[in-house]
Structure formats: C-alpha cells, structure tokens
Symmetry: C2
DNA sequence: TTGAAAACATTACAACTCTAAATAATTGTT
DNA sequence: AACAATTATTTAGAGTTGTAATGTTTTCAA
C-alpha cells in the first residue's frame, strides 16, 4: 500500500504534535512552566490586562482551558486575577513581579533547535513554510469559509513583510 | 509589536493542533472513535498483528498511550490482545470483525473539509505543503540529525524511524 | 547455569484539553 | 423595576498524553 500525500500530511502532523508535547514537558522540567503556561504568560505580557476570552482566542485554547492554566499560574503567584470595574463579569489577569521575571528567563515556546534552524533558513524558505502552515490551518478551520477565494498561492509566498533586518 | 515569521509558525501550529483536537472530539460523537483510536485501528489493519511498540512508532505516540488506547478499543471488542508465542514479552493486537467493520465505516482521520480542499489543490501545491510540514517536523526532532542539510522529499520520512541508542 | 542487563508492556500519576452545565453580571423589554 | 436573554467565567467530568516506576521475559556473559 502506498502512502498518499494526504497520509504524509497526517504523519507529519502527528510528529509535530508529539514533538511539541515532548518539548513542553522538557520545558516544564527546566523552567517549571509548560508550553501552554508560558504561552499564556507571554500573551498576558503582550496584551496587558485582558479578559480570559481575549487570552483564549489569542493562544488558540478554549476558555475553560485558559481558566485552568491561570489557576495554576495564580497558585504559583505568577499571575493575579481581579474582576473588571467596568464590567464585573470579566476577569482581568495581570503578571506579578515573579511572573515578569519568569518570562524573561524562559526560552522560546518552540524548540530551541527549531528556532535556531528556522532562523538560519533563507527568507523565502521561511515564507514558504509559514504560508504552508497557514494554508493547512485554514483548510482545517474551513467550516465557515465555504468558498473563500483568498490565498492566491503566488501572493502568499511573496508576502514577505519581514526582511530579516537584524 | 511586530509578529515575526517564527511567531507565525507558532500561531499556525496552535491552530492546527486545536483544529485536530476539535475534529477528534467531533469524530468521537459521530463514529464513536477519537482520532488516535481510529489511527491505531488503521495502523493495526495495515501492519497486521504487530507489537505495541511498533504501533507506537507507527502512529507517533508513546507506548503507554498506545496501551491506554488499546485498553479502550479492547473493552469495546474492536481489538483483541494476545501474547506472542515466540517472545512472550510482546503483545500482539489484532482486529476483531467489528473492528474491521468500524474502520470501513469511519471517515478520514483528518477533517473532511481538509481532505476535500487538499485533494483539490494542484499536485505541486500539495508537494510544497507536504515538504514544508516534513521540514518542520524534522527541525523539531533535530536532536540526533545534527547537520543534515537537505531533505529529499521522498526519503525524508524514513529518517524518523531511527531512534538512536546512544 | 545463574545473575545482570535489556526489552516489552502495564500501572500510577499529573497536566492538558474539550464540552456541557452552573454561576454571575449585564442589557434590553415591558 | 422585574424578568428574559445574553455575555463572561468557572466547575464538573471525561479522554489523551507523557514520564517514571514496576513486573515479565529474554539475552548475554561469566
């Protein structure tokens, strides 16, 4: 039986998902934070005091999951919760001092190896990979997008808004 | 603040992982099987009576996880276990009749939308996506593979087999 | 042959993840 | 003002996943 292109997609995806998970656990040992925890922390850092729901869409996790993660972060005093005054339904999360500190000492949420190798690729290669990933993500979420004409492949690749100007 | 290419990778990845998870749950409602369960079932179908460890590398999951999944499959009589006679350490898993039936009625382990849209892409587009995914997977696993500069798309998959006895 | 090391599988445990239901607060309608 | 509908978050419950520890069986060497 031969492997189709689609099979290859599936295989790669599983490997990627697994690698991501393994790295998360490794991270947890080294820094004391799992990848999703770090992700949420960074998101709070970036967005300022935001609602749980905003965080949830930002990191692509359900509200319940974010609540769960914040529970843990709060119990370690990396994050603090307080209800908004304008709208007492919403809960704002902010970083504590140790939360900020923790972020600064933490590595990337992606494998270091990956970062290193990825950044050493040619810009066009990076773009190709990014646009492929985006296409896959898009094709998977395509419930609403029924006939979305977007994504003209040619344009997608040229879309290099980042010029590695280091 | 600007999003780098690497950020884009991370974002897409999270979306893909989430989409995969959501689909798995949807599948579970429709067919009564989660994606990894289906995956394991198909793997047994394809490989014949194999050991747990072979299955585990085939579907990119840990042994413990496969054991766990097989527990569930066995309790539903989709799979049967029996110890090998040649080597009584290993456990073989085989499909029952209802297991085979289940497979035939199950959809792809990937979103139907995805399959549909992916298969409607031009061959070169498919190849580009596959090779991008493979590169990502490889860059993430790159512990052993130290300086492998090139990925010949065809052969890339076999590389992952090797699991170093350092 | 016997004992140590290795290989295979399972168990125990902890984290993550989701959906659905429950709780709390706001908004809109009458 | 009171009640319904909506919005935001949390809780409850179940499945997936991995590591570490455990129990078996095999292999190998003295």
């Amino acid at each position: 039986m031969e492997t189709t292109q689609e099979d290859q997609v599936l295989i790669s995806l599983r490997q990627i998902i697994r690698a991501t998970d393994l790295y998360s656990r490794q991270l947890s040992k080294q820094v004391g934070l799992t990848a999703p925890q770090l992700l949420v922390l960074q998101s709070i850092h970036r967005l300022g005091a935001t609602s749980i729901s905003k965080l949830s869409t930002d990191v692509s996790l359900s509200q319940a999951t974010v609540t769960n993660i914040i529970d843990r972060l709060e119990s370690r005093a990396l994050v603090r919760r307080h209800r908004s005054n304008e709208d007492r339904r919403v809960v704002h999360a902010t970083l504590t001092d140790s939360g900020v500190e923790k972020i600064s000492e933490a590595p990337t949420p992606l494998q270091d190896v990956f970062s290193k190798r990825f950044s050493s690729l040619e810009p066009w290669e990076q773009s190709m990979i990014v646009s492929s990933l985006q296409r896959v993500a898009n094709m998977m979420n395509a419930e609403d997008i029924d006939a979305s004409p977007v994504l003209h492949v040619g344009g997608a690749i040229d879309q290099v808004h980042e010029n590695s100007a280091s």
